[in-house]
């Protein structure tokens, strides 16, 4: 039987919402365990680092322009340029290096 697209979309949307909503609504009190607290503290750092590298190297037209973007963005982040400033620096570096390379 062919399932209508709308039904698929509804099922996917409800399922993903529940995955996100259950911990937020069920865990209403402070977690006491020092281990879990520490674990959760480190989660964003690990997750973001894993997502950034090496994926960033394959995000553009060439590994070299991506590496230029990575280096420029990392330098901007080192000097605390803020989310928008760092992102824009990375984009600009990719754009300029692709003008030269490709």
């Amino acid at each position: 039987m062919r399932v209508p697209n709308a039904l698929y979309l509804l099922i996917a949307a409800v399922t993903i919402y529940l995955v996100r909503a259950l911990p937020l609504t069920l865990i209403r009190t402070e977690i006491k365990s020092p281990f879990i607290r520490s674990f959760l503290y480190y989660v964003p750092y690990v997750t973001l680092s894993v997502m950034t590298f090496p994926a960033i190297l394959y995000a553009t037209g060439s590994v070299w322009s991506a590496a230029a973007g990575l280096a420029a963005a990392a330098a901007a982040a080192w000097f605390d340029r803020g989310l928008f400033g760092v992102a824009l620096t990375g984009c600009a570096a990719v754009f300029l290096s692709e003008l030269l390379l490709l």
């Binding site: 993903i16 992102a87 824009l88």
Partner: protein, 247 residues
């Protein structure tokens, strides 16, 4: 420029405005990524309207790719549920972390609304806010980011490859730049966090390169490495809850 950890906006309005501003790079990156997602959606047999609704209601990259695969293959609703849970399992972790970031007794409605906003990127900037999280910050980010994601998808379906390649290449780095902006400043101030960041990147590169292990989907890779490395870090250096907000 936003300088996380230094200035703290006053009140809901201040946090909301900060959120709107921090949402801009996320929205740019989303737009570029969603554009390619739209092309995939079209190939899976979804209309522009259906793809737009999907992006607006799911707000998930890998999750949507997976859902499109299920639709394209005409698999059963049960497969759709299972796939959606597995591919998006990391949101369970992120949502748990956010539950601890809210101030005690935060209203239930905010928990329900925040749940919609949990994406990798929006979670990241929300978790990086000093002290407890004001939900209005996350709402601000989402209000800018979600339209970028949705518009990108719809345009991807409608016009395919109209965006100049150079522009979309440059824009797709915006997301990663933002991740670096969240991770590097604390890594500079705290060498242990710096070590965690470097280990995570190295491990991720290894996972992407090694035979067999590289077959693991990127969603699963994030879960596995997060569980291992964040646990190791927690064992090596437990965090004093009192100091958590300051970094």
């Amino acid at each position: 420029m936003s300088d996380m950890g230094k200035t703290v906006p006053a009140g809901r309005r201040g946090w909301f405005m900060r959120g709107l501003r921090d949402g801009i790079p996320i929205s740019m990156g989303y737009f570029a990524v969603a554009f390619t997602l739209g092309i995939t959606a079209k190939n899976a047999g979804l209309s522009a309207l259906e793809s737009g609704v999907m992006s607006l209601t799911m707000l998930a990259s890998a999750g949507q790719y997976a859902a499109m695969t299920v639709i394209g293959a005409g698999s059963s609703p049960a497969v759709m549920i299972l796939t959606t849970i597995i591919v998006n399992l990391r949101y369970l972790l992120m949502s748990t972390a956010l539950s601890q970031k809210l101030k005690k007794g935060e209203k239930f409605i905010h928990r329900l609304l925040l749940a919609y906003c949990v994406t990798d990127e929006i979670f990241a900037v929300s978790a990086a806010v000093p002290g407890s999280l004001c939900p209005f910050y996350t709402y601000g980010v989402t209000l800018v980011a979600a339209p970028g994601w949705t518009a990108g998808t719809v345009l991807g379906v409608l016009v395919g490859t109209i965006l100049p390649v150079r522009a979309s290449n440059a824009m797709s780095v915006a997301l990663y730049g933002m991740f670096l902006a969240v991770v590097i400043p604390p890594a500079k101030r705290d060498r242990f966090i710096g070590g965690v960041v470097l280990c995570s990147m190295a491990a991720s590169a290894l996972f992407a390169a090694l035979p067999l292990v590289r077959e693991i989907s990127s969603g699963m890779r994030i879960i596995i490495l997060t569980l291992i490395i964040a646990s190791a870090a927690a064992l090596l250096r437990p965090v004093d809850p009192e100091k958590e907000g300051e970094q």
